[in-house]
Subunit: 228 residues, 2 copies
DNA sequence: TGTTTAATTTGAACACGTTCAATTTCTGGT
DNA sequence: ACCAGAAATTGAACGTGTTCAAATTAAACA
């Protein structure tokens, strides 16, 4: 039996080896960048044979995904606390996304290795069946942010708001990963202004002038999200 | 001297070999899909050694890019004619994007091989320095579509409209590439409805209610597009 | 035509992700 | 303590994209 997904329960030796490989990999990734890092070097640093690395991770990419999963797990506490503490939609969205930036900061470029998989068929795509669990957990944060805030939206669109915000976050992160401006200042600016814009849009969405857009918007979302 | 980019002028033997390799590659891609296709098989089908393929194309991906360039070149006539003939922004946008779908249809999935390069540093990314020429030519179509149509937009945003429409097109194509619905019906629907929505938005963009968005929008675009 | 230089072509070799048969180590049951 | 089976570990071998020194062919020029 391979422990590629499960075995989180056994706090055993196995789990420790897996962690050792993961950490070795992250070290090599930071040092050389994802592409230049070789599985041989990672295995060497973790003091195992290459085969062992593949016993624990199904591919080089999957190591990055494991890092992403760990991140998700470790951020959850912070995220929940923050959501409890803050009240407005704005502060919550700010909080969720800022947490991601803070956590991923030291490994920012590494996420580029995941963003490569645009194909929803690919197991490591952010849109794949395989990553559904992690994705849905992430969306839950946005759902909470939305739920007890007073946004009034047309009923055809409201059910999608959390998903859309998640998508917005993914876009921001993608931009951030490749943002070459000093200290990723561009991303900070983009985040700030697009968030402001978003809140204005939500505030005025109900106005009669924008009515014609509601039906269209709902139809688009229904189509895109139908069956997954 | 390597003919990887130039030598379009010499209608020579060289150009014919290049074309033979490109066509062989496309045949193998269609037959096996991009990933399963091997350079060895492509070379064999083109009746050259592997090395020759690399003499003409710097990588496997670059072959797809060459296909994309050829496409761009071959579509230009149709596109220009269409733009001359039609008058409204809507029909022009419809025309431009429909042309892409029609042309790329038989090789739809192949474009997935290019969409992989989200990193703007990568030579084959749609956002890279290296693809600037082809991208700007593509944007020109949208510029023409915008130019003599009567859209009134805030002056801070108008200069970016063509670029934004190009981005919209890229998004649609990306969706299309991975659209598994029968005959890509979802994409057709998405195209139709988002285009309608876009036109409504453009029509009402000047209304006072939306004023607060203009400055923000302009600032965002300035930031994102500054220095390329 | 002969010679020099450039363009083209070749295929073996390399690097790296990945696989897998074989081996070693661990675990639970007696 | 012993054994059977499961889990973990090994590293050689494979497939594939890519490189490159060497060989061949074409072009330029005397």
């Amino acid at each position: 039996m391979s422990p590629q997904k499960a075995n989180r329960t056994l706090g055993s030796k196995s789990e420790e080896t897996r962690a050792r490989i993961l950490n070795a990999a992250l070290a090599v990734f930071r040092e050389r960048g994802f592409e230049r890092a070789t599985m041989r070097e990672i295995a060497a640093k973790a003091e195992v044979a290459v085969g062992a690395a593949y016993y624990y991770f199904e591919s080089k990419d999957a190591i990055v995904m494991a890092f992403y999963e760990r991140a998700q797990r470790e951020m959850k506490a912070d995220l929940d606390a923050m959501l409890d503490r803050s009240r407005t939609l704005e502060s919550r969205l700010r909080g969720i996304i800022a947490e991601k930036f803070a956590y991923f900061g030291p490994n920012r470029k590494l996420l580029g290795a995941l963003s490569v998989h645009t194909d929803p068929e690919h197991p490591l795509s952010p849109f794949s069946q395989e990553t559904a669990a992690i994705r849905e957990q992430d969306i839950t944060s946005f759902q909470r942010a939305v739920d007890d805030s007073k946004v009034k939206l047309p009923p055809g669109i409201r059910p999608y708001l959390a998903k859309l915000l998640w998508l917005y976050q993914m876009g921001l992160i993608l931009f951030w990963v490749y943002d070459r401006s000093e200290g990723q200042a561009k991303t900070k600016l983009l985040f700030d202004k697009t968030l402001k814009m978003l809140l204005i849009v939500l505030r005025i969405a109900g106005f009669p002038l924008l009515r014609p857009l509601h039906r269209l918007g709902g139809e688009i979302l229904d189509a895109v999200y139908q069956k997954g």
